[in-house]
């Protein structure tokens, strides 16, 4: 019994991290149509910097902010310097951002060395909850809490605020916005920055469920993130949340109960969902 509970909970905590990474990607893809394969590398960038700041200051909040800021900055530079003129050219976007995965990973190798960086856990969160034979870290509960708070907040912004309406309109009918005199450009830049910051923040707190930050994090994360975005539905917070949690819990439970099949599970899941529900779990139907 304790096995099931820990399995589901750890899957959920992992899922929340995936959600934070995927949410930003979903909107960048949905609103700007930009395929930023370096998004995972931004997670890594924020993680390395943020964790070092957190360890130096002893504050997870400062670390999270630092990670978010650095990732946001790198993302902002990436968009302004390179992606700005490539809005309709998705192949070029892929090539540029792919180049940045290599660049960012190698810079981090150069600066930080090749071994993984272990997560920062503030001493106040060092405790754990006993579930049967196991202890479950309070930090994971915090991560789940952050997810439980951020998801409705972002969802509210998406559905109930003017900026959210502008973003959704930008995804469905950008011409109408132009006719109404709303300039999408600053919105795009802001969304890209926000997505990158969210990714950096995810890296700082996500290092714990991921067992540390590695240089390969960029490449590992981006595939999972794209999968979550598509499985959940592009351009939808609730979709990203549903997709991420589904992915997280399924992988976790499969690892425990179907270990031989564990390696296949994420991909079977993707194929199955896409076959039966091509727009994703909670996606917006084709416009």
């Amino acid at each position: 019994m304790d096995v099931v509970i820990v399995s589901v909970l750890s899957g959920m905590s992992y899922g929340v991290v995936l959600f934070l990474v995927a949410a930003g990607l979903s909107f960048v893809l949905g609103l700007m149509g930009i395929v930023n394969v370096a998004h995972g590398a931004l997670v890594m960038t924020g993680a390395y910097a943020g964790i070092h700041v957190a360890k130096a200051t002893g504050s997870l909040i400062l670390g999270g902010l630092a990670g978010a800021l650095l990732a946001g900055l790198v993302g902002f530079l990436l968009e302004r310097a390179f992606l700005r003129n490539l809005y309709k050219f998705q192949l070029e976007q892929i090539l540029v951002t792919f180049g940045f995965i290599y660049i960012l990973a190698n810079i981090h190798l150069w600066v930080y060395g090749s071994w993984p960086l272990d997560a920062f856990v503030p001493s106040v969160l060092n405790g754990s909850v006993v579930i049967g034979r196991f202890s479950f870290s309070v930090f994971r509960l915090l991560i789940m809490g952050i997810g439980a708070v951020l998801c409705p907040v972002l969802w509210w912004i998406q559905d109930r605020t003017r900026i959210g309406a502008v973003i959704r309109a930008g995804m469905d009918d950008p011409d109408m916005l132009a006719v109404m005199g709303i300039n999408l450009r600053p919105v795009n830049i802001a969304v890209f920055f926000a997505a990158a910051s969210l990714a950096g923040f995810a890296g700082v707190i996500g290092a714990f469920p991921l067992g540390g930050v590695t240089l390969g994090l960029g490449q590992d994360m981006i595939f999972l993130a794209i999968a979550v975005v598509v499985v959940g539905g592009v351009g939808s917070i609730q979709g990203a949340f549903a997709g991420a949690l589904t992915m997280g819990v399924f992988s976790s439970v499969a690892g425990t109960y179907l270990p031989a099949a564990a390696i296949f599970v994420p991909y079977f899941l993707m194929v199955a969902i896409l076959i039966f529900r091509p727009q994703g779990l909670l996606g917006r139907s084709e416009a």
């Binding site: 820990v6 754990s128 991921l210 540390g212 390969g216």
Partner: protein
């Protein structure tokens, strides 16, 4: 052409500066004696590839730049943890640089692919980590300096059954061939001494989430025997620590991680009290070890981990082979010398006994509260080849 913005130009200039600052010419061909080194400097195995290279450099530096009166050149190339890149670099080392011997790399498929090439061009290949069993048996020019993976796990199994008194053990290994071999060796040693393996799990390669497997470990187990290479060891131990499982943990080989002074602390409290067999220990009292550790510590600021020690030992073996074969020796002579090579190393006695694999000493260490891997036992595994198969026993 589209307008190129100033910011784009600036970014290009910055990148070009990096490029310029790292351009250096390829090796000059002259009279020197050349040794080739292939290491995983990029790719997923790069933490331990770098360790190995660092250890190797110390061995080279200790020669003072000369070997038998001639300049000594150590040409290091990146294997990128990829067999075809390894082959490209190997061809360059052999055809262009004309090296006499090659050390490394570590990644199984790379060494297996390289072995065939070594046979073809008749250049001895000195491994850093154990070679695949099939390679040792079939490829005449590949030398497995730390024995075999299975032979590594064997003494740990014996130790677990006889000294730690475990009766029922569950295993959890990363699904690489090396994992199967290390754990296989453990299983052999354990079962030969009355133990019972009650469960075996294999985690997908590159997993960062070991939780599902850790919580699935059979309740009845006395202990967990786990094997995680390189970076995977981080997730494994961190999550084991987090779960506070009242289950002792041990490794048949530390994956280059658990006993590596640079990283042990980062694995968390769960590492304390863990046992593992190691390919090399910096605390072992072996000839030349104190000097090696001091030199390594001076250069890199930390004591050498197991794989760094392996890199050092491998180069030492290569150098010794070259010295004993003499100047201007043929490849065949070099190989013959290596086949019958007997020498001391920082790992203990090396003796190829004409089989290209050596019986070796496996220190068993236990991580103490200061994250130091203290040696608690030392076994010498004897490897015999009977009917094309390996047979393991312990020397007394």
């Amino acid at each position: 052409m589209r307008q190129v913005s100033r910011l784009q130009i600036l970014s290009l200039v910055v990148l070009a500066v990096f490029l310029a600052s790292y351009a250096s010419g390829p090796a000059r061909a002259a009279e020197p004696i050349k040794i080739g080194g292939l290491f995983e400097l990029t790719g997923f195995l790069n933490p331990i590839g770098k360790d190995a290279q660092q250890g190797a450099m110390i061995a080279i530096e200790q020669e003072g730049g000369k070997l038998m009166g001639r300049p000594l050149e150590f040409i290091v190339e990146d294997s990128a943890t990829d067999p075809s890149t390894t082959m490209d670099k190997a061809r360059k080392l052999v055809e262009v640089d004309k090296v006499k011997i090659i050390v490394g790399p570590i990644f199984g498929p790379c060494t297996t692919g390289l072995a065939g090439y070594g046979d073809k061009v008749q250049i001895p290949l000195i491994s850093i980590a154990p070679l695949d069993d099939a390679v040792i048996l079939q490829n005449k020019w590949s030398f497995s300096t730390p024995g075999t993976d299975t032979g590594m796990g064997y003494p740990m199994g014996v130790f677990a059954a006889t000294k730690l008194g475990y009766r029922r053990v569950a295993t959890l290994g990363s699904d690489f061939e090396a994992g199967h071999e290390f754990i296989g060796g453990f299983v052999q040693g354990f079962q030969e001494n009355g133990g019972k393996i009650i469960q075996q799990q294999w985690s997908p390669p590159g997993s960062t989430n070991m939780m599902p497997f850790l919580i699935a470990v059979d309740k009845q187990a006395d202990a967990l025997c786990a094997w995680w290479p390189g970076a995977e060891g981080f997730s494994g131990f961190k999550q084991y620590t987090e779960l506070k499982m009242k289950l002792p943990i041990m490794e048949p080989e530390d994956g280059g991680t658990l006993a590596s002074p640079l990283v042990t602390k980062g694995l968390g409290e769960g590492a304390i009290g863990a046992y593992t067999a190691v390919l090399y220990s910096y605390l072992a009292d072996k000839p030349g070890n104190k000097e090696f550790v001091a030199a390594y510590q001076k250069k890199y600021g930390v004591a050498p981990g197991p794989i760094a020690g392996c890199g050092y030992a491998a180069v030492k073996i290569a150098l010794e082979g070259l010295k004993r074969a003499g100047l201007n020796s043929s490849s065949q002579k070099l190989r013959d010398v290596l086949m019958s090579l007997k020498m001391d190393s920082v790992r203990g006695p090396v003796d190829f006994q004409n089989r290209r694999v050596t019986s070796y000493t496996a220190p068993i260490v236990r991580i103490d509260q200061n994250y130091v891997p203290q040696i608690v036992a030392e076994y010498r595994t004897k490897i015999d080849i009977v009917g094309g198969k390996f047979v393991y026993s312990l020397e007394k």
